[in-house]
Structure formats: structure tokens, C-alpha cells
Symmetry: C2
Subunit: 280 residues, 2 copies
Amino acid sequence: MQPGEIQPGSTVELDRCDPNDTSGFTRPERDAQLELQRLRGKLQRLQELLYAGHQHRVLIVLQGMDTSGKDGTIRRVFEGVNPQSVRVARFGPPTVPELDHDFLWRIHPQVPAKGEIVIFNRSHYEDVLIARVRKLVPKETLHHRYREINGFERMLVEEGTSILKFYLHIDFREQGRRLRARLDDPSKHWKFSVSDLIDRSLWTKYIKAYNEALERTSTEWAPWIVVPANHKWYRDLTVLRSIVGTLTRFRMQFPPLAPEARTFLRGRPWGKGKLPSPVD
Amino acid sequence: MQPGEIQPGSTVELDRCDPNDTSGFTRPERDAQLELQRLRGKLQRLQELLYAGHQHRVLIVLQGMDTSGKDGTIRRVFEGVNPQSVRVARFGPPTVPELDHDFLWRIHPQVPAKGEIVIFNRSHYEDVLIARVRKLVPKETLHHRYREINGFERMLVEEGTSILKFYLHIDFREQGRRLRARLDDPSKHWKFSVSDLIDRSLWTKYIKAYNEALERTSTEWAPWIVVPANHKWYRDLTVLRSIVGTLTRFRMQFPPLAPEARTFLRGRPWGKGKLPSPVD
């Protein structure tokens, strides 16, 4: 199975997808760093246009096993971007009031507004992943949820949101290396929790859950993108490229003066460079 | 009147405070850029500690006339900071449901959580500024509101939030230059609105409103800081220094392994470098 965008209807077998893939980069250290720099600059300019234009909404969904690099991707891809129109929504274990509602109830208020990029660090997909692995809901519910997720995302897209869904793909050995690194480095101890080890012991079940979820929710309007993530630089580059590509296709321009501003300025002295003086 | 922190109980006369002040920088272009770089690096490290430690909450309030540089400060001070724990809350004209509540109702849900820095781009202070200038409420209401603001902020501080309130100080001529620059540059037309000109004509009234508000709400727990802002580099530097100073005084450390993680790892083979294998 090739990494990249999953065609709707195709079979997903993550075990047969290479998490070490770094297609097209033979001198990663140099080429990749330069390319990352260039793309980050581009993202900054595009994001200013997005904010100014106040037309498009962008939703980025990040999923992946523990240590797959969701936090790192957010930091590395969005460093330098104006925090005023980028927002991160984290979805941890649901609270009691959240559990008292449908699973999309806590998700919907967090979707992006016009001009905004919102990054979901985990998402509604946990409700078909951990919910399946830990048997929190009957199997039938899962099948409803795939359909409900597709419907919800379709609505968002039809109403003007662009959705980019990234699965950060690492393998079992790489997760072991990263967990060990967390234990070896006191400045990373705060990231370590027992539940990471429990989830690690359920790796095979999680892969099965991801295979099914990615298969059932890769749609024409919101396909999943499988990102080889054993190499952090390649992961960052792939995600950044995809976001920059999407924003570029919007063909955005800075909006002109508002009509009422034009009318207001026309014929007045400060229309030609002078501005009104203070009254009082 | 000197720029900087306003001592509680002292008189505020913004007209007598120099917006061109750049104390201590004789070679601004070079020294200031280096210092900005250094402080941004420091902010990034402190913010990681803040996020990891999950103890302190930081609220930054930005106020100032149109074009005083609220947006620019946010972009320049927080570029490079992890968007995961920095959030910007903008407060525009209140909506109908917001007007149907007390003026702090829309503010309270936006205050920072533990580990978070939240920047208020405009704030509850609009309700004693524009509300006063445009006579939206009777004078008596203003006097209640100063007290209510002080009480609200005191509660936040007593419950563990640090509040930094910056007034970005430009003068009337500088605003004229900046508005004209917006009209001259098509890529900045989207920032221009007729209401900027109306507010400009009310400059003197706004200064009076700010004088009173800053005087009445500079408290021991949350003093205002007047930032000379005619020079953008000096404005950025002053704000950045103040934030870095506050975070430094927290004396934060990376938290150790959670007690349950330590217990769990003790005596188990993966405590010594091995991790559990997948089941199934």
C-alpha cells in the first residue's frame, strides 16, 4: 500500500505501508530543511490572505498512535504563523456532560470560522478508534458512526470548509524508541503516562481499528492522507506541502476597500490623503 | 508622565507621556533586533515549561487606539510560539445575545486554563471606553463597571491567573500616518473601515476615557503598563520583555514522572528499558 491520499473505496492495510518512506529526498538534511523554510514562508503569506479574505475555513485533523508526532507536527508546521487565526482544539477523554450527548456534540463548536485554520489534535475519530479497541460501544454503533462522520464532514465541506485529515504513520519499533526516549529524558517525563503503555500493548487492535476507520471515512470530500512519520522531517514536510497546496488552490487576493468606505472617502478632502481632525 | 507600569492611585495623563520613547536603545536597528531574537527564544522555552507544568495561567490584555498595533504585536511577539497553548480571543462589537447579558458574560469563558497563554485583542475594557465615548451607558454605570472589572480581575488573580494589561500608546499624528498608509497600500485595504475615521474624530474623548479607565483599574493585582508604540520595534520589545519577566518569575521546572507511572514501572522489565509487546 502506498502512502498519500487514500482513494475512496480502496483497501487500507497500514501494516503494508512503509513508515520510513522519504520519497524523492536523497539528501534529506539539507534539501528538506531548505524546503521546510520555503514552505513555512509560503504558509505565512497564504494565512495572511486567508485571514484578510475572510472566505475560506480550513480544518486539519491529526490522528496517529501515541508518540506518532501530533504535537511535534503542530509546533513545527505552524511555527511563525500568526496565532490570531490559527487555533488548536485538543480532544481528550470526554467529560461527563460530553458523554451525556452525541459524540459530535463537543466537536461541532470547535470547527473553524471564516478566515480561520483549526487543528484538531485527536478528534471525533477517537469515537471509532479507542471506542472500538476498548469496546466502549457495541459494534453496530461503530457502523452508524462511520456514516455519521461522513455526513457531518460532507455538511461542513458543502458549507464551505476544507478538510485535511492526516494519519501520522509510525511502526511499533519506532514507538518503542520514542517511549524509551521519554523515559530517559527528565525534561520529557511530563509527556509519559501509564495509559501509553496500555495502548501500546493493544497496538495490533489499534491498527485494525485504523484500517477500518480510514477505509470507511476516506471520502471524495474528505479523504485521509497517510503520512510516513518515522522520519520527523519528512512528516513535517508532507503535512506542510499538503496544507500549502490546498491554500494555494484557493487563489486568494487581498480584498479591496469596502464599498461603504469607498463611498465615504469619495469627494471628501481626506480621500486625497487628508484625514479628519479631532472634534471637541 | 513616565511610560511603564502605572502605580495604583496615580494620575494618568496620556497626552503627557511620550509615545516616541525608546529608553536605552541608541542603536535600535541592530541591538533591538538581536534582543528581540533572544527574548523570543526565551519565550518559546518558557512557554513549553508553562504547558508542561500545567500550573500557571497567563492572561494578556491588549488595548489601544485603532492602528496602535494590537494585531502586529500579537504576530511579532508570538511568532515561533507553539500554537497549542497560546490562544487569541478577539472581542468585537457585542452580538444580541451578548448584549442581553452582563458585560463580563462573554469575557469569562475566554480566560486561560492552566498551562495556557490567552491574549485578549480588545477586552472588557471596551465597555468603559467606547461605551463612554459613544454614550452607550449612563455615567453611573461606568463607575460600577470600574469596580466590577477590578473585582473580576482580582478573583482571577486570587484563583491563580497572572494578568498583564498593555496600553499601546501612539499619538494622533502617528495614527494619521498609519491610516494613510493603509489607504495607499491595496494589500492593506481590508484593514480599513469607515468607523476608524469616526473614532479618529473622537480622539480627544478616547484619550480622556483611557486616562480615567487606566487610573481606575490599575490595581496591585493587575496594573496597566503603558507601552510607547510609535516605534514598532520598541513596542514589541517592551511587551516581550514584560511577558518573559513574568514567566521567568514562576521559576518553572519540567514535572517529574507521575507517581502512578513510577509505581507501574518499578520492578517491571520495561522499567529498565524494555517495553511491553502487543497482545492479541
